[in-house]
């Protein structure tokens, strides 16, 4: 195994991690500040992908499609929050899990009824369709664009959370919601905004994966599970935790799939290695989560609660 392959795999891991970050940022804020478990976060991602694919098919503009997915999900989330989820904020976590799981089932069936079970098509934007060569390896330029977009969102969120008044309130809300409310801040407005922002990021993630993945009902669930792993590792409520957690999970998952089987072939006989490789790769991320929780039960970047 060459250094080039390892570096390509690292790049793949970073790309996957940043995609997970787009999902995790919204989920961790909603979970941390509103104490609201939203299993339907994966459905928002799916709806974003559908919205982007449809916009792209009708307008032919990829950038419009991405904007439509993010903006559309922002509005959809505001409606969803007002109409349904706000009633759940004060209920216990089990009720929230049940209700939002219902939304997952509803959303999957709704997409199936509207667009059929066959996957939807979304092309790669022409400017980003050719691979670029990095040290003899072809790397898809579109995946490079996902890395750039993920880093821009991370920077934007950093500025929003650490440099603005809204960000200050969000941080305060994550530490002590009641106190923020007592100081005269309209916490309902704040939570609605956070929920919609998280949904817009999920929509953006959905739009970004459109050219890579098949857009179909149920596409949100696999990514939701990894996103939950990310926020548990990173520390619930922490944006910085979401970023580093996502990168760790992305790289661990990619190296687990790309490098671990090859390493096993060096130490075990081929038949055992062939059987053990995929099995270990699929549990690697969860072993990582268990290890982190054993040493840091609140995650790597815990939010301090008053």
């Amino acid at each position: 195994m060459g250094v080039e392959l390892l570096l390509t795999q690292l790049l793949n891991g970073v790309q996957f991690g940043l995609l997970l970050f787009l999902m995790a940022a919204g989920l961790t804020l909603v979970f941390g500040i509103m104490s609201f478990i939203n299993l339907a976060h994966g459905s928002l991602y799916m709806v974003g992908a559908y919205l982007a694919a449809l916009t792209f098919a009708h307008s032919g503009s990829f950038w419009l499609a991405v904007a439509a997915a993010a903006a559309g999900l922002f509005v959809l989330a505001l409606l969803l929050d007002r109409l349904a989820f706000s009633a759940l904020h004060r209920r216990d976590h089990l009720d929230q899990v049940l209700a939002t799981f219902g939304v997952v089932l509803f959303a999957n069936e709704a997409m199936r009824m509207l667009f059929g079970s066959a996957p939807l098509f979304m092309d790669t934007p022409a400017a980003l369709s050719a691979p670029v060569e990095i040290m003899g390896f072809n790397y898809p330029s579109y995946r490079g664009a996902i890395i750039v977009a993920g880093l821009l969102v991370a920077l934007g969120l950093h500025l929003l959370i650490d440099r603005t008044r809204v960000g200050m309130l969000i941080r305060a809300g994550a530490s002590n919601r009641t106190m923020v409310s007592a100081l005269g801040v309209n916490i309902n407005w704040l939570t609605s905004f956070i929920f919609a922002l998280g949904a817009a990021l999920a929509g953006l993630a959905g739009a970004m994966v459109g050219p890579i993945l098949s857009i179909q009902p149920g596409m949100g669930e696999p990514v939701l599970i990894l996103t939950l792993v990310v926020i548990v590792i990173g520390g619930i409520g922490s944006i910085r935790g979401a970023l580093f957690g996502a990168l760790i999970v992305g790289i661990a998952d990619t190296l687990g799939r790309g490098v671990l089987p090859a390493l096993l072939f060096l130490v075990l006989d081929p038949a055992t290695a062939a059987a053990a490789g995929p099995a270990l790769a699929s549990v690697g991320v969860y072993v990582l989560m268990a290890t982190v929780l054993a040493f840091k039960p609140d995650g790597l970047f815990p939010v301090k609660h008053a």
Binding site: R112, F137, S282
Partner: protein
């Protein structure tokens, strides 16, 4: 008055006789996966089957076809319940359909226990072709390994020396790789097993690039296939090395792949351009009715309908004698969409196995075009284990 009564009685008697003739019907249980991510497959089986029924004026073998349509939701336990419902409550004469092999293996037991006649129109699991074969089961499809075997022979014919084999890590994936290796004589550089329903293949494709194979064999059905082909294309591998696939580019995924999939190779017994007047007529009728190119699942469903039509015509009497129906099905004298089609002694077909390439058809639509027939009149690998004569 007496005359009138007599006339009335005669009319009633005549009507009753007419009714008795009319009542010559056949009850057919259609069981398939009609919801969930794989619903497109079951729907195509159903549409193909119903096209055959419709072309015969709603009848099969001169009997009015009464169809009991059931959706197994890709759940083996539900499939068993539905099979029992079809057998005990609806009292069907024959069961057809079944999309997935895991459901097939589960429903085989209740069907066999009830001595039910079964005409399968998609799943073709190895055990039912071998040791657990059943004299009353017929498959108008292919044994699951056959397309991979054809591609293995094709790779050998083409002289590929060094190949990477890829599939999801579950039973079907392993079976496909075994089937491919049965006929591939070159070296296997690596077997890469991915997680089932894994969306991203970047790590695996980087490995493929590092190993620089002559060609790739891949089995990624449904949405996995869309993801895999798109990502192969983005990394620039798709047009650099041949990609040999099973169930990855078919009628269900091509609409989501479009031009991206051009040039991908696929193995199977049937394509829209398979030779013969029967297939040309089928493709034309299917496109006219459903406004889309038929998939192989539609062709298998259509052939199941034709097989039952020809066999039921030979069974006399109001009651359908199952032994007579089985004897009538065995010669397979129906105009199948695949001209080489015959039933082997295990109820599975002996037929030509082709390799197709994704290409534009005459109307500029993305479709499959035959490029080679590496294994003509292929017997499946398991029929010798079948105790039936």
């Amino acid at each position: 008055m007496r005359k009138m009564l007599r006339a009335a009685a005669l009319t009633v008697a005549a009507a009753a006789t007419a009714l008795a003739v009319q009542a010559q019907e056949v009850k057919i249980g259609f069981l398939a996966t009609l919801s969930g991510p794989a619903a497109a497959l079951g729907q195509d089986q159903y549409d193909g089957f119903m096209l055959a029924v419709e072309q015969n004026g709603g009848k099969l073998g001169g009997r009015t076809a009464k169809i009991f349509k059931e959706d197994d939701q890709l759940k083996p336990d539900l499939g068993v319940q539905l099979a029992q419902k079809l057998i005990e409550k609806d009292k069907v004469d024959v069961v057809t359909g079944v999309t997935f092999s895991n459901v097939m293996m589960a429903v085989a037991k209740p069907l066999a226990a009830a001595d039910m006649v079964f005409v399968g129109s998609n799943a073709g699991p190895a055990p039912l072709a071998g040791k657990e074969c059943n004299a009353r089961f017929f498959f108008t499809v292919k044994q699951n390994d056959n397309p991979a075997e054809a591609l293995g022979q094709y790779a050998t014919d083409k002289g590929y020396k060094n190949m990477i084999l890829m599939a999801p890590n579950y039973q079907s994936g392993k079976d496909q790789i075994t089937g491919f290796k049965r006929y591939f004589k070159g070296t296997v550089a690596a077997e890469i097993f991915t997680q089932l329903n894994q969306p991203d293949y970047s790590a695996e494709l980087a490995q493929v690039q590092a190993l620089k194979p002559d060609a790739i064999f891949a089995f990624f059905p449904g949405g996995m296939g869309v993801n895999f082909v798109k990502q192969m294309n983005q990394v620039g591998l798709l047009h650099k090395i041949p990609v040999l696939t099973v169930s990855t580019v078919d009628g269900t995924t091509l609409p989501a792949l479009k031009d991206t999939a051009l040039g991908v190779l696929s193995g199977g017994p049937w394509g829209p351009d398979t030779a013969g007047p029967a297939n040309a007529a089928f493709v034309k009728a299917f496109e006219a009715k459903y406004k889309r190119i038929p998939s192989e699942y539609a062709a298998f469903g259509y052939d199941a309908g034709l097989a039952l039509n020809s066999a039921l015509a030979k069974v006399k009497g109001a009651e359908i004698d199952r032994a007579a129906l089985v004897a009538a099905l065995r010669p397979a004298d129906f105009p199948a969409t695949r001209p080489s089609f015959k039933f082997n002694r295990n109820g599975f077909p002996i037929q030509d196995m082709h390799v197709f390439v994704v290409a534009k058809d005459a109307q500029g639509r993305v479709s499959l075009k035959t490029v080679a027939t590496p294994l003509p009149a292929l017997h499946d690998a398991y029929f010798e284990q079948c105790p039936l004569k």
